[in-house]
Structure formats: C-alpha cells, structure tokens
Symmetry: C2
Subunit: 332 residues, 2 copies
C-alpha cells in the first residue's frame, strides 16, 4: 500500500467526525459538534482543529515514525464538486456553507493538500472499497436518515454528474408521497414519505398527535421504540417508509442495473419492521432482466464516509480502482 | 477518420434497417420486415442478407475503391450483452431471440467481425456522438414508443449494467400508473401509462370505446390525429402520458444529473400536446441543484441507432470518446 496517511473528515449537519486512515485502517477517531449555525468560517475552523488533533494523536502514538506528509480527505454535507473542492450548494442546516472554497480553505489552515466530496458520495466509495459492495464494479449506496441520499458507482467510478449533483434519490416522485411537501420545495418526492422526519410526520398525521402539549414523540428513535413495543400506528409509519423506499429503489435498479444495492443511514437500524416491506417492495418492482439483484445493509457504519474520503488520495479522485482498504471496525 | 467501414443494422420488432456507415456518413439504406414470428434463424438470415446487400450496393457505387474489410455493428431489440454479443433476453415480439449468439452467428454467415448492443443503447450512442447530445460527456436518451427505454452515458461511456440490463426507464413505478398492469408483469410502471399502447389504452378506458364493433381507433397514430382534430379524451391521453414521462424523467435527472436529457421514439412526434406537459412536469420535479438541465428532442431519427451501432467499431465498445461522426440526414 503506497497511499499517503490521510486525515479523513466527515462533516455532517450535527457533528464533525474525523480519524486517521493509514494503510486502510481508521484510527484516532474524534467527534465534535458542528457549529452549524455559526457560519462557514466557524465550520472550517472546527474541521481544521479536529484534523490537527487527529494528526497530533497519531504522531504521539507512533513517536518513532518520521513525520509524514499528511493529506486531508473530506466528505461533507452539501453538494460538493470534487474537481474544484467547493461547496456548490447546501441546505440551511449548514449556515453559509454554500459557496465555500472548502479544500482551499482547509489547505490554507493546515498546509496540507485537501480533497473533498459529498458525504453520501464518500459513504458510497467507502462501502464499495471495504464494505457491503466490496468486490463489485457497480453499486448503488442509499443513505436513509434525515434525508435520503445516494451514491452510484459504475465501472469503479463514482458518478458525480453535472454540477456534482448526482445521487439525489430522495427526490424521485413516488406514489406514496403524493400531496406531501418535500424539503426541496417540491411535492410528492420519496424523501417526503421515507426520511426519518417523514416517518415521524406520518405518525403524527396518523394519530393526530399535535395537541397543545406538543407531540408525544419527537424523534425517530423514540418512534422506533414505540414501534418495537407494538404500537400499530408507529409500526405503520416505518412500514410505509420502507415500502416506499424499496419500491423507488426497485425502479432505480431497473434503470441502472447495478451489481448490488446497499442501504445505510440511520433508518437502516430500524429493524425488520422497515426492512421486510423494503425488500418486498424492491423485489416486486424488478423486471425479469434485473431480478436476483442483491440488496444489502451497509457494513461500515460511520467509518464508511471516512474510508471513502480517504480514498480520494489512494485511488484517483472518485474511483475505487486498484485499492484495497479495510475498516478498523466491523471488518476486522 | 481511421474507423473501418461498417454495415450498421437496427433490428426492431417490426423491421430491420441497415446502411453503410463510412467516415460517419450513413448511406445505402435498406429496410425489410423483421420475420419476428419465424424464430432466431430467420431473423439472423434476414440480418445477414440485408447486410450483404448494403455491402454490395456500397461497393457497386464506388467501383474504384479496393474492397474494404467490412465490420458489422448491430443495435437490436432485447437485452444485448455487448461483451459476449449474445441476446440475454427478449420479449415475445421476437420469437426465440433470447439466447441467440448474435455476433457469432452473423460472423459465421458473413465472415465479418460483428459487435452488437441493445437498440436503445445504440440510439443513445448515436445521439451522443452526432445528435442532440453531441459535445456532452453525459446524457440520458429516452426512447418513448411501443415501450419506453433508455440509454445513459456518463463520462463518454454507455452504462450497460449488470446483465447488460441497464436503461429500463419504463419500469420506474409512478403515481400516474398506479393499478395499471405493465408489460413486464409488474404493476404501476411508467410504461403502463406513457408508452404508445398505454396512451391508446387510456383513451379506450376514457371513452369506453371497446364495444362489439371494436375500438374506433386502433393505432397511436390514429389517436394522434384525433387529438390534433381537438377531441378532448384523445388529447388528455397524450397529456397524461407526457406528464407521467416528464415527472419520472425529472426524478431520474435528480438521481443522475446528466448534462442533457434527449427524448426520441415514436411518441416524440406527438406534438405540443405531449411535449408541453412533459417539459412542465420535468421541470417541476428538478431540485435546485439540478435545475436548468436541458431537455431536447432527439435529432437523428432512425439514423441514431445506426450511427450508434457503427460506433462500436470506432470508439471502443460502448464509448463515445475520440470520435466525430455526423449523420447523412438531419445534420448536414
């Protein structure tokens, strides 16, 4: 393995997670809250600070090693152009993030060469390199959580698309979401029925749980507990979200025919209540030519985005060619 | 231009069309009915015969030229694996076509090296090389006619997918088709509301035009004439098909973010009645990051598949790299 040591950073709406990735092993993890409301300068400062700490931790733990030339690999929320390293656009959850010259700013702060890609795209690269899609040349990774994003890899290359905007699987129109507003401003998109917040909203609609005392459950996690305890409306909210996602992914599989579809993100921990209708709906939609397509849970958890971000330095910009990486976590 | 002279053959369910493609110019066109019910041997014999005639016509018209080494490029209905040159699967409209070793059989008959790809994939290659997507690196071609197929090109490479099955855009589940059976055996797919036969069926459902005397209109062309003459149910059938296609393509554009979406196939001649709702629905679905995406009519008509099939010999298997081709038709 000749890839340089990388500090990989996963920049999300609520937290920034970073670790060293050396010879494919993720280590010296750190996690801090994202100063999401404080603007781009604060976020950049936090990224630089956490990266500095990872470098220091790594160098302290291997004092005999000569100081290496570190590189920085970032997977960030927002539409990230990997060619220019800029934030093309971002939702309001990261104030002022759109337009940030992400890689240039981090290089200026750390003196280290930096590459960046969208966080879900990094996730897809990670699972393709070392996770559930390892060994395939084409895969579709779907992260279902606060939003529903995707990353499609064909012939070992991540598809980033015009304006680096590819992967917005949550914005497929679907029958189950008809009439429901989508965070993008549109109507009837998958995300409006199948994201975490959408599951919660569906439950609130079903039980009328929006009285003056406020809703009885306010997080997807609480709702999952209710569902596990057998509450029917909570169960139905997850079932309907799983079914909508499975159906949409079956349709996308008919269009892309990848070797494998990998499902990650927070909702993928929701259990059989969500997975069973998801699988069923997925398989129902597949045309004969595509049948037998493998649908798998993601394997690397939060490390996927770090491994994917680090791979920007080991296997070409957004390629999974000629690289063997392993996670320090689930795979070893 | 150093590409060899190619006989390009477009094998459809009703007709086989062939022509020479030399230095990017399509010429010496021939068209014969497909012996679709007579089995693979008959179809292969017809392909070989029409290719022989094109070669003879070309050589007669240029008697001074030394006899070139001809290659054969085929775009065929059915799922075609371009690596093996076999028909992976096909609908019943081509009896016994599935399983045919297409390129090997044609080489055996003609003594000429042969390459093959799916006909809609050939169409996509043709439009990318010399038509509406010329000059782009990524494009989505959709052919809307008897079925609804697609070809997606990214980084100048046609995506063929696992089992060469990519491109089945007609088999996206869509709200407008809920409850309608799809030719694939599934339910509620785009093709069930937006293909030519689906438009006809929608009209028949709307007017109850299925009495003992049989339906008043029995082809999409007749229905288009009725719509042009102002009959409201005929107009609504086209409008609803256009809207369903546009909405689905907007969703796919959010996932793939190509540089351009190109619409061809028989329905693309249906006029503003179909195009206006198609464009409107397409643009309505686009997320901000994808907005401004160009939606264009195909330019090359039936020559697209020939140019695409010929390109299998000039620009790598399914690539549009380093090739400049022009149509002998609309572009000159």
């Amino acid at each position: 393995m000749t890839s340089p040591p990388v500090v990989a950073v996963d920049v999300g709406g609520t937290k920034i997670r970073a670790g060293s990735v050396i010879d494919g092993v993720v280590d010296h993890l750190r996690e801090v809250p994202t100063p999401a409301a404080a603007g781009a300068r604060a976020i950049l400062g936090t990224i630089a600070e956490v990266a500095r700490r990872v470098i220091r931790d790594t160098e302290v733990s291997t004092p005999d090693a000569s100081t290496p030339t570190w590189r920085i690999g970032i997977g960030s929320a927002g539409v990230i152009d990997p060619d220019t390293g800029t934030v093309v656009s971002a939702t309001d959850s990261l104030a002022g993030w759109a337009g940030t010259a992400l890689t240039a700013e981090i290089t200026a702060r750390l003196g280290a060469e930096t590459r960046a890609v969208n966080d879900v795209h990094a996730h897809a690269l990670g699972e393709a390199l070392a996770g559930a899609a390892c060994g395939t040349q084409s895969s579709l990774l779907v992260a279902a959580g606060t939003g529903i994003g995707g990353g499609f890899i064909a012939e070992n290359r991540l598809l980033t698309g015009r304006h680096a905007a590819a992967g917005h699987i949550g914005h497929l129109p679907v029958a189950a979401a008809q009439g429901l507003p989508c965070p993008c401003g549109g109507m009837g998109h998958l995300e409006a029925i199948a994201s975490g917040p959408a599951v919660l909203s569906a439950y609130h609609r079903a039980v009328g749980d929006q009285g003056p005392g406020g809703p009885r459950v306010s997080t997807t996690r609480e709702l999952a507990e209710l569902a596990d305890s057998g509450e029917a409306p909570a169960q139905r909210a997850f079932e309907q979200a799983g079914r909508a996602l499975g159906s949409a992914l079956g349709g996308v599989a008919n269009v892309l025919s990848p070797e494998v579809v990998v499902i990650g993100g927070g909702l993928s921990g929701a259990g059989e209540l969500w997975w069973v209708p998801l699988r069923e709906a997925f398989e129902t939609e597949l045309i004969p030519a595509v049948r037998g397509l493998s649908l798998r849970p993601a394997q690397l958890g939060q490390d996927a985005a770090l491994i994917g971000a680090a791979s920007l330095w080991s296997s070409g910009r957004v390629s999974t060619d000629e690289t063997t990486m392993t996670s320090s976590g689930e795979l070893q």
